[in-house]
Amino acid sequence: MTTAPAATAPATAPAALAVRDVTVRFAGLTALDAVSFTVEPGSVHAVIGPNGAGKSTTFNVLSGVYRATSGTVHLGSTDLTRLAPHRIAGLGIARTFQNLALPPHATVADSLLLGRHRLTRSGFLASGLRLPSAAREARLHRDRVREIAEFIGLEKELELPAGILPYGKQKLVELGRALCMEPQVLLLDEPIAGMTADERRRVAAVVADVRDSLGISIVLVEHDMGVVMRLADAVTVLDFGRRIAGGTPAEVQNDPAVVQAYLGTQE
């Protein structure tokens, strides 16, 4: 009851994330219909599509919040399909939420520290008895949290309750919390929604930096095509739960089906 799932230090070359024929049905509707795609190690893979296409559902399956009705998800050789969320997190898959999911009264620092959960050990006993191990651990990870906070530009907000931050900042906290999990695969659900252009630039840059400096895979759901087109190495397009296109940004952008279903004829 007191031990955390084993931490897996990110392997230098993270494994590929393979989604195979994943179908998700809810009473009466099929949110995902035999969707397959593969996220190459260390790449940014964008998942786009109209509202209600099934992007977040995909994330929910990848992070264990939903059980796939059929199909499989593998990270390298490990099968994630039936794992509980915390086990999947234990394997180094981190995500942000499209609708914020931050404890409003916990400080940003605490929220970020929560991200370290899988990497830390000390359970009820150790923390209760304040064993030196726990203290050492806490120090170590607080430092890392500060490092990450500086990296995404939250150092000033660390001691504030997340709830009072403006929307955009709260999204950053979520990103930070996910980074604090030292993930192999990072799932970002609309990370720059609700930001001004230059804020988007910063976050886009952060995302790029993360990929480059940590070499981890990133799955990105975003409606800002500009950013998607330039960040993504590969794109998967969903519509009504079906995969209607996939490939390099360029290919996708000119795919008539995509234009028709998603982009529209933009000015």
Binding site: R144, G168, Y262
Partner: protein, 266 residues
């Protein structure tokens, strides 16, 4: 005279000063855009108008008049009764209620009778067909965008005279964002004034006749939308111009704030 006039509005949350002497006009039948970065105070501004600052332990000074009538001292419900309807930031749908009930909740503030409500419902359904399909699904299970549509539809049910939109295009796919833009124009065409808080400055400035730019709680720029759209400041910070650079920045991470993060080993 202006439909909504905000004068010397200052708002603080405890020690935090969110707005300083902000004055904004929303002329009758016009669309007024409010731009600004994170924490600029846009949402706070809307809260002040809808008088929901209390929910956040915020307090304000200054005057807000709607049709010459002062809104100070009114409760949120009375503001709604006056015809000022807000689409709050972050959707805020009633997750455990069905889509249909969410729309009914929206109609509670409506001044019209049954017939208007029914008509309103049809209009919302034709705008957002998915809301009709999902009438009996719990709103919390909708996708983000669908929820955004619901939030919008819910506000329309009230038959607003002044519509306050806090980032209506948030999380909407390009097509749907465009659709919302049209909708806003339609509503506006039927005589509803609109105050539009948008991050998607491109859309906002295209729709709006006048625009304000908030910067850390103060009005930094204001004027006719097209003029602002032309100004460098706005082009650089709020308009599409960025996205190209964003690309470069992104690809060969050179942008100011970004630095590299060492890999964690422990």
């Amino acid at each position: 005279m202006a439909t909504l006039e905000i004068r010397e509005l200052s708002v603080g949350y405890g020690p935090v000063r969110a707005l300083r002497d902000v004055s904004v006009d929303v002329p009758p039948g016009a669309i007024t855009a409010v731009l600004g970065g994170n924490g600029a105070g846009k949402t706070t501004l809307l809260r002040a108008v809808s008088r929901t600052l209390g929910f956040h332990r915020g307090t304000g000074t200054g005057t807000i008049r709607f049709d010459g009538r002062s809104l100070d001292g009114l409760g949120p419900a009375q503001v709604v009764a006056a015809g000022v309807i807000q689409v709050p930031e972050g959707r805020q749908v009633f997750a455990r209620m069905t889509v249909a009930d969410n729309l009914r909740a929206g109609a509670l503030g409506a001044r019209g009778g049954r017939k208007e409500t029914a008509a309103g419902l049809d209009r919302v359904h034709e705008l957002f067909p998915v809301l009709a399909e999902r009438a009996h699904q719990r709103a919390g299970l909708l996708s983000g965008g669908e929820q955004q549509m619901l939030a919008m539809g819910r506000a329309l049910m009230a038959g607003p005279r002044l519509l306050l939109l806090d980032e209506p295009s948030l999380g909407l796919a390009p097509l749907m964002a465009a659709r919302i833009a049209e909708t806003i124009q339609e509503i506006n065409a039927t005589g509803t004034s609109v105050m539009l808080v948008e991050q998607n400055a491109a859309i906002a400035l295209r729709l709006a006749s006048t625009a304000y730019v908030l910067d850390v709680g103060e009005v930094a720029l204001e004027g006719p939308a097209d003029e602002l759209a032309a100004s460098d400041e706005v082009r650089r910070r709020y308009l599409g111009v960025v996205d190209e650079t964003a690309a470069e920045d992104a690809t060969q991470a050179v942008a100011g704030p970004s630095r590299s993060l060492s890999r964690w080993s422990a």
